[in-house]
Structures are given as C-alpha cells and as structure tokens.
Chain length 333, copies 2
Amino acid sequence: MDRILLAHGSGGRLAQQLVEEVFIESLTNPLLASMEDSATVDFHGQLAFTTDSYVVTPLFFPGGNIGKLAVCGTVNDLAASGAKPLYLSLAMILEEGLELSVLKEVVDTIRLAAQEAGVSIVTGDTKVVERGACQGMFINTAGVGRVPEGIVSSASRARPGDRILLSGAIGEHGMAVLSKRQGLTFQTEIRSDCAPLGELVANLVSVCPGVRCLRDPTRGGVATVLNEIAQRSGVGVFLDEGHIPIPEAVAGACEIMGFDPLYVANEGKMIAVVPVEQADDALSAMRRSPYGEGAQDIGEVTEEMPGKVLLRTAFGSTRFLPTLDGELLPRIC
Amino acid sequence: MDRILLAHGSGGRLAQQLVEEVFIESLTNPLLASMEDSATVDFHGQLAFTTDSYVVTPLFFPGGNIGKLAVCGTVNDLAASGAKPLYLSLAMILEEGLELSVLKEVVDTIRLAAQEAGVSIVTGDTKVVERGACQGMFINTAGVGRVPEGIVSSASRARPGDRILLSGAIGEHGMAVLSKRQGLTFQTEIRSDCAPLGELVANLVSVCPGVRCLRDPTRGGVATVLNEIAQRSGVGVFLDEGHIPIPEAVAGACEIMGFDPLYVANEGKMIAVVPVEQADDALSAMRRSPYGEGAQDIGEVTEEMPGKVLLRTAFGSTRFLPTLDGELLPRIC
C-alpha cells in the first residue's frame, strides 16, 4: 500500500495502521502514543490558544513544505501573544490517492520543526476525502502556550513614541511559494523564511516586559499588520524605507511580478512594538536570537495620522501604505 | 457581495470584513472580539486538548449540519476524557463561490451549539481555496477542557467484571447523512443524533469517580470503539444484542443498504466502561441527563477472549464483531 485510500479515514483497521505507522512512529511522545480522544496535561497560568489551517500550494517549496509551515505558523501565533509555545494538535485532511511517501516526508518535517520549536504534538485527527476534493492535503494545527506573568501583547496597545522593530528581511516566503508555483527561476533562489520564533520572543520579552504588541506579518505582510495596529490603537505609524531589510532577489522578483514586498507574506518574522526606553534592549535581544540576526528598528508610532501607515522613502518623500482591498496572493500559507 | 471570494482569505480588508461581519457578529465574546492571534485565558488544573476536522457531505442533513457537528464532535471528544469542555477554536476552509447565506447559516448553528454546550469559541482562522478545491467548506475545531481531579478515562483501563453502558440509540447520524446523500426517503425520517454530551459526562463522573473509559462511538461505530478498548485493555467484551437500542428506522435502512448498525457512526452517544459496583449509579446519572434518557447497560468486560468483542444474539448464539478492514462510509463527519 503506497497511496492513501478512503478506508484510511474510516476509523477501522487501516485508519489505525496509518496513525500508528506514520504519525505515532514519527512524532512519538507518550501523550500522542496513548491515542486517547484528548491529550491531558497539567497546566497552571495564562494559557494562550490559537489555530490555523494550511492550504499552501504547491505542498513543497524552496525552504520548506506545508508541514513545516503548519508547525511554525501556529508556534509563531502563540509567540505573538508573548507565550512560550508548548503543545500542538495536528489535524490532516488527505486526498485519496496521495502518495504515502509524500505524507511521510511532510510528517518527518513536522517532527523536525516541532523538535526545533520545543513543542510536543499531543493530539491529532486524520480525514480522507475523495480524489479531487482537497489537492493533496490540508493541515490544521492548534496550539497551546503559556504567557509569562505581566506580558500582554495586543494590537490595541501601541502608544505614540513607541518604536517598531522587525526581526529580519521581508518577502521571502510569499515570493518563494509564488516563484515555485509559476515555475519562475531567478539567479538567486528565493527560499521561504519559515522558522519558529518562540525563542526570539522569549528573549525579547525577558528584557522588554513593557512590550506593547507582537505580530507575525504573514498574509498581507508587514503593511497589513501595521495597518491593523494603527487602526486598533488609534495611532499613526511612520516607517523608514531605508531601514526595512528587503533581499535583492525579493526586490527583483517583486518588481518583475508587480508586488510590493511590504505586502508579501513572511513565515519567520516578528514585528514588535515596544516603548522607546526599552527599544535598544529589545533590538539587541532579537539580534542575539536565532532568526533575529537581521533585526532592525524600522519606524515609530505617532500621534499624527491616527489609523494610517506611512512610509518615508529614501528620496525624502512620504507615501501611504493602505490596507489592501483585493487579494494579493492566495494559497501562500 | 453574496459569495465567498478568494480575497476573503487574503488577510486584507475583505478578510477583516468577513471576520467582523460573520464570525465576531454571530459568535460574539470578548476573547474572540479582541481579534488577537491567540486567545489568552487563565487556567489551572488538568487540561484536556483535542482536535477534529469535519468534511461531511452534504453540508446539511436531517438533524444538523457541518457546523453543529464541528462543535458537538470536539465537545464530545473532550467529554470522552472526562473533561468539562470550555474553549473551542474554529478554523474554516471555504470554497471560492460559496454562498454567504450558507456560511451564515452554518455559523449561526455553531453559535447555538456552542451556547448549548457551554463552550466559548475564542480563536479562529479562515482560508479560502479556489472553486472545486474543497466542496463547500471544511471545518476544524480544537478544544480545551478541564478534567476533574482524580478522573482518568483511557481505553486501556477496562477490567474484567466492568459493565458497559451506552447512552442511547445507535446508528442515527451515519444513516441520516447517507440517506440524504443518496436521496433516499423512509417512512420515518432518520435524523442525526448530533448533540453535546458535556453535561451527561459531568453527571456521570460525579457519581462514578471510578469510571474506566469514556468514548464517543463516531466513525466505525460502537463495534470499533469496543474493539479498541478490548485490544488496548487486553480484555474481552460481551454485548447483549437485546439491550442495544436500535431505532426501527435505522434497522430498516441498514437492512436495505447492507450496513450493520453496530458499525455506523453516532455523534451524540457516549460509551462508558464502569466498575460493576458503580454501574447502577452511573446508569441512573446518564438517564437523568440531557441526551441520556435511553441509556442502557449493554454488556460486560471479561477475562475470556482478550482483544475480542462478541455479541450474544437474541437467539442465544454468539458472534464476533471484528475490527473492520475496509471503509464503511466516507465523509460522514
């Protein structure tokens, strides 16, 4: 048997085999191996709880695959609430006919990504749908983490004077997926930045307990996240174009395809809005962290222009970065 | 705008609108309304964590729809660990072109089901995939609950002498979905039993702290769940056919279509394996509970025939109920 059959989703013997041979075998930990309907763990404190479905196409792209995305994306949503990510659920919707080797490769990646992120996959579910009904696989992960006492990250907490920090270069995930999908090749391959940011956030909040807001700029990119913060906090956001790290290959690909890198998805970056007096410490903590080497202070929060995001260009002019109406890039995560 | 567009999944203005107008509007609670990447709640004790994806087709069937299923299924998985269900996540994968009215009806059902089950939907996600890529919608819910101190429900804890309790009539969910799918009508309409069982389980564990194992017999039905318990506990299971409540309409439909009701999915039933000395109290508690009126003692756990499930028929003979190899009914949940 080298392909997924409808019977793998029936709850019968084949379903049990699939779970044991693919999931338990690879993702082994005592909670998952118990195969109960729920995992049970002892928990005390502020619990962060989040969910995301992953429907990216193609399933494999330079720098990652749907499995790595499903771990990092949910880990990063927990980190964005200031939490230490602890436990993930893993729910897969598989298409009849999917090669078992593809599933195994994705699950192996999930294992490695979870290991790196320091999270355990403690509960799961598998459904199988007929050929043509889901394009390979969809994955949902939900996550549970613990928020350190006193830390509150919210898009409504930005205040005039705060600094805006960005953990590194932008645009890589979206352009990597799109290039692969369109069959485009560039001189320098663009690889997804997909990475778990739990440690980066832990380092940051330990020296910057006053952090106002953490957000990972995925769908809609940096501009969309900052618009949300500007609107919900009732403040303006001014960015310095020259301080925003954009890899040359991303800039080139965006120019050819007509995208603005500020709206392109990232899967391994964090934006932190921090009080000005803790900004230097926060930036240093980011730069000492894995995946934060390229962190930059990219702008400030203002009283002027509440609800708006503005970019000071390299030429000294200023332009608005509006919230986008239409769709930029479907199925990039 | 009366249909789902790809742009509703982009993270831009339309995505924001959809979340605000459909989800926040209907499922309103302060945690969800905060629209942060994670919900944060205070939690102390034994935490139960589970997930399930729902891919049922058709989306609407007698007695429920995919939304009701997505709430009840995950609530019941928490209940099956003995937990009081508390918080759910809601992740939707929507197909481009889906009528907004259909989405709204499903979300309204989700609201009502969550209300009845006493759970809050505190975090969510929406993805949109191209026309033809998911057949209307898929839903994933993950759930968090609190397990009362001292309660341990596990498929490996059944002991010889234990009684097997079933909370009511079987086979309704699977046959309701299948009849609808095949366009079959019977004299008596078969309606899904889809229902939240948190209160039933809370009542049961309060008088039966020694409960060995709780399981909701969904995919694969009663026979599959009992096989799992028999195998994992290393015990035999003997059922009395005459004590298993099977509605006449279900029995008739199963006969016509060639199904055994013991393998047909339920979405509002619980199996409880309990020590014999607490069995009467447990059964009374079930019967006093919503959705437990028809509860029955259906059999016993034995030392003989470890790993096997046997049915004593009305005629005095005995037959095996094996674990099924193939697929019985795809897409029923």
